[in-house]
Symmetry: C2
Subunit: 382 residues, 2 copies
């Protein structure tokens, strides 16, 4: 851990795991209480040692994810940069074409790819598996050491984006977490009406559960997705639990600013035309494009809106959201239900951050992505 700690500290460092377990549970009171009492018999040096070193150390030994939220993390130093990025994003979204026209949809799809000018370090391989309606492409990053496989599901309102558009983050995730990342090129709406996308993700999950050990030497699975990708991730996890009966293989879900209620949570009903990235115009048009003619009861069907589903016996989930994202209620509501259903959760909230904030080159983005990677790394070890 650190080089040559003083002998008396060694015990403490050695017992870090033990202390972590203790200090993050309700039982930590039973440790602290006799310590404080015992402190009275100590010399003043020891008193200072306990007060200034031991107690802060106990804080330090708390597992990064024992707290269940990042509310103790201080992001104030990153805020100026976030505000600049937000202004830039507001400027960029002026005069964007309507996705309801063919040209507008194509231009929007093209623009999403154009953001991706950097090159990944690992070379992705592409593999095709047979889906319900032909081949489904899997875009695969394989680092040298593989501790688990991440099924990654890209975002883009079920109608834009591709596995390739997540190359940079997937490459970084593969190398940082030492995981194979398998991104699924599911069919997009409206050409392939919803829920074609869900079916393709299910096919990819089924293939992975049958082939991960052979292909990657591990059957530990994570599911990761942002925005519509988080929606599809939750749908896929429920399918793995109910139809494949293999939820025990799923070690965690990384659910990034997901949409979990297709009928729109309160915050999603309050979008305006100046809402960053998810402007009212874009949201309304995307729903019209993908869910044309669906009524509220259909949109709230637990089969399609996982917020309404039975969430028992799923897997731990990390929820990431920015406070300027109109999907914030989706994350807060889903995190509450996920937790109440008995699953472990971690809620990571980033002040003033917009939808998709982690895709832009800011320190806040790096911190958020790093937290996702750390979370996967920590769960890989379990």
């Amino acid at each position: 851990m650190r080089s040559a700690p003083a002998p008396r500290l060694l015990i403490l460092f050695d017992s870090r795991r033990y202390l972590t377990g203790l200090t993050c549970s309700a039982n930590r009171y039973t440790i602290i209480s006799p310590l404080l009492t015992k402190m009275l018999d100590c010399s003043m040096t020891n008193k200072l040692f306990i007060t200034c070193i031991l107690i802060p150390l106990l804080i330090f030994t708390n597992s990064a994810f024992a707290q269940k939220t990042n509310s103790n993390d201080d992001y104030s130093a990153y805020l100026d940069e976030v505000r600049t990025a937000n202004q830039f994003l507001v400027h960029m979204q002026q005069n964007t074409p309507s996705v309801l026209t063919k040209e507008g949809l194509m231009a929007t799809r093209k623009r999403m790819m154009a953001n991706n000018s950097a090159k990944p370090q690992l070379q992705p391989a592409v593999k095709y598996i047979l889906g319900l309606a032909g081949n489904i492409g899997l875009r695969i990053f394989k680092p040298d050491t593989i501790r688990a496989v991440v099924l990654e599901i890209h975002g883009g309102g079920w109608s834009i984006g591709s596995a390739e558009s997540d190359d940079i983050l997937n490459d970084l995730m593969a190398r940082t977490c030492k995981v194979a990342v398998v991104s699924v090129d599911y069919r997009l709406a409206p050409e392939n009406p919803f829920p074609a996308c869900i079916n393709d993700c299910k096919t990819a999950a089924k293939w992975l559960l049958n082939n991960a050990m052979k292909e990657f030497g591990t059957d530990k699975l994570f599911i990761s997705g942002a925005s519509a990708g988080a929606h599809l991730s939750a749908e896929t996890a429920i399918y793995i639990r109910d139809s494949l009966h293999a939820i025990n293989k799923v070690k965690g879900l990384n659910l990034v600013y997901g949409c979990f209620d297709l009928s729109n949570t309160p915050s999603m009903r309050m979008t305006t035309d100046s809402t960053i990235i998810l402007s009212k115009k874009y949201v309304d048009e995307t729903y019209e494009l993908v869910f044309h003619g669906w009524n509220k009861d259909q949109l709230q069907n637990p089969q399609y809106s996982p917020l309404y589903a039975n969430l028992h016996n799923l897997a731990p989930a990390l929820f990431t959201i920015g406070t300027a994202d109109p999907l914030i209620d989706d994350t807060y509501f889903m995190e509450a239900r996920w937790k109440l259903a008995g699953n472990n959760t971690y809620l990571a909230v980033y002040p003033e951050c917009s939808h998709a904030f982690n895709l832009f080159p800011t320190k806040m983005a790096a911190a958020a992505n790093q937290k996702m990677f750390q979370w996967i790394i920590e769960l890989c070890g379990k």
Copy 2:
């Protein structure tokens, strides 16, 4: 944080949250109490250390509600009794009449009063104020010392219950918190179609804001309500903010297992006929009775479902819920939105407790009611 504290203070400041976590739980007594006992046997140096450093530090870090949730509180000793009470409640709700028949509704209303055989210690006064459709009764408990006024709004699915049915708790609240409790006898559905109840609560709030100082010697206001009463409390607070422009007078809302989304949150859609108190049959019939013919869009109107309303600039709120209450999502979702809108919240969750659990004579009920009273007392001092 703060500007450049001395290095050793930094550690203390950093540890503040941790210590707060330690000292704010019910268990803090188990830390402090052996310490104080031990102090008697101490040297003068130790006595000075405890008195001048340790206790001030613990006080500095201590606020009963600093933690924002009761998740560190240990209720396991109360669970057996809760389970017994739950079994009793399940037994009691067999063969209850339908509130959709006149006889069934009258019998249900009568039964709610019959639970109230104990007598309050303070003698309630009844005062009538002029509402939109005649007089509205206010049932008032006045203790000798009055530090604030609580507008109390009873529950009962907008169709049963009365101010009198909350006598015992209102009497206890008045005496424990040293507050005047003013319970409003709003008009019930279906005789007085929804939203007549909301209008009467608004009238009561307006009257209080104009007369509290004269009647009670204070203009500090709290709003408190359980179940439908919590719904009406939220509606009233929004009215005070938007129409009376007097939200600064409202020091807090005590929102007990409230219903905040009339279109039903996911957990409310999962009620069964064995759900305690809020069985599927009772819930369905009550909605049919009160909201007959309303469609989802009407039910989700922010004017009637406060979950969808703008919640900025309201007041601190204490949310209380049992994990066996199908309104649990209403509380979790509303607490999230209330907090995200910038208001202080405290979320008090009681394991295995049903709807209305705090009205029955259990230790868990006493703990929950005590927490409400403590919260009001703490905010009275601010």
